[in-house]
Symmetry: C2
Subunit: 200 residues, 2 copies
DNA sequence: GTAATAAACGGAGGCGCCTCCGTTTTAAGT
DNA sequence: ACTTAAAACGGAGGCGCCTCCGTTTATTAC
């Protein structure tokens, strides 16, 4: 339902691009994701254009500002993370799916730690981006938690927002070298707590 | 070892500048204030250096980032505004001094309207800057209000923070072409209210 | 006054940003 | 298949950022 609405909006807002334009645009987003990950959010836009095999003018036509490009990359990554929830749910027992998804979630945030400042500015400047993505994340998590509660693999006295709060406690911890490892341990710990008393 | 480093830093902080260095630094701040006013906070640093008659390297030695320079200019302007409070108090009846100072205050904010976004980022990033300057403004205003209350030229049932709140209502109004004029009218209105019932 | 030296100067150079516009490609009409 | 107009391309060019380092200048010691 929600996906149908999104699809409709996209169709309404965007006229179809010419084949070469669509190809270049997709390529740019893909390369940009890689380069931002490698060099941070201040990476050279000219490097992105070069590695995507297009001229700098083409990059600017598609993404008038750096922020436009970052936003598209960010939305794409959040969407990939969230749509993985459904796939995990189909392939694993619901508690395992939830655990794996939470692990990916904190890992994703870990990779963004370095960019936090610039990204936070973008997220406060562009409140639509913030509400869209945080809504999408909540939805994915809710799906997993409700399934696990329903089939009794985790306890029934928690809901998605409880888990989200618990996770935020994990990823808002200070930024040390072992941050990533500790986060994973904490996710395991949280998961054990969720399994305890399950099926009662 | 650590002590040596600390000692070096202290020395560096307190050390008087060489005569030419001080001259260039002052010149840069003065020119920067003009250029930022003319072209906005994103003005070219090379233009500032050029108009100050120094090389770009000299500008960067004194102010490693644009933010450093903006901060110094901003502090200087706030200080000029606030120290004018004392001068006004010496030359005018206390109610007139207060009115004139408030007029200058809203005018100053009016000039900063266009830069608001960048400046707000700087003020939230650098909380020392924010608390220092807002403290200084409060102090200047308090001085004027207390004097006017004390000699009965304005009513006694208000204090500086009341007036500051009233002013913030004035300058947070939307940004229209007549903003400046309306603000002045509102200051006059506020002042009439303050005078009403004075000396009771 | 002169020499020595630490401090400051300044601009060339390399890189990235962004715009502008002549060239190329697509796709719609015939 | 061919023509053609619109769409997209891409890179040169101008400007600003910032660093690096050879040169100049102020100050200190004699």
């Amino acid at each position: 339902m929600a996906e149908a609405v999104i699809a409709e909006q996209k169709a309404a807002e965007e006229k179809p691009l010419r084949a070469d334009a669509q190809r270049n645009r997709d390529r740019l987003v893909e390369v940009a994701a890689t380069v931002f990950a490698e060099r941070g959010i201040d990476a050279s836009l000219e490097e992105i254009a070069r590695r995507a095999g297009v001229g700098i003018g083409t990059l600017y036509r598609h993404f008038p500002t750096r922020e436009h490009l970052v936003e598209v990359v960010y939305r794409r990554e959040v969407e990939a993370l969230c749509s993985a929830a459904g796939e995990l749910a189909a392939k694993h027992p619901s508690d395992v799916a939830l655990e794996e998804w939470m692990r990916r979630f904190v890992d994703y945030i870990a990779t963004k730690r370095g960019l936090a400042t610039s990204l936070r500015i973008l997220l406060t400047t562009n409140s639509t981006l913030f509400s869209d993505t945080s809504g999408r994340v909540s939805q994915a998590l809710r799906q997993l938690v409700e399934a696990a509660v329903a089939d009794g693999t985790i306890r029934g006295d928690v809901d998605a927002s409880d888990v989200l709060h618990a996770l935020s406690g994990i990823y808002s911890a200070p930024d040390t070298p072992e941050w990533r490892d500790r986060s994973r341990r904490l996710v395991k710990l949280l998961m054990d707590g969720l399994r305890f008393g399950a099926g009662k």
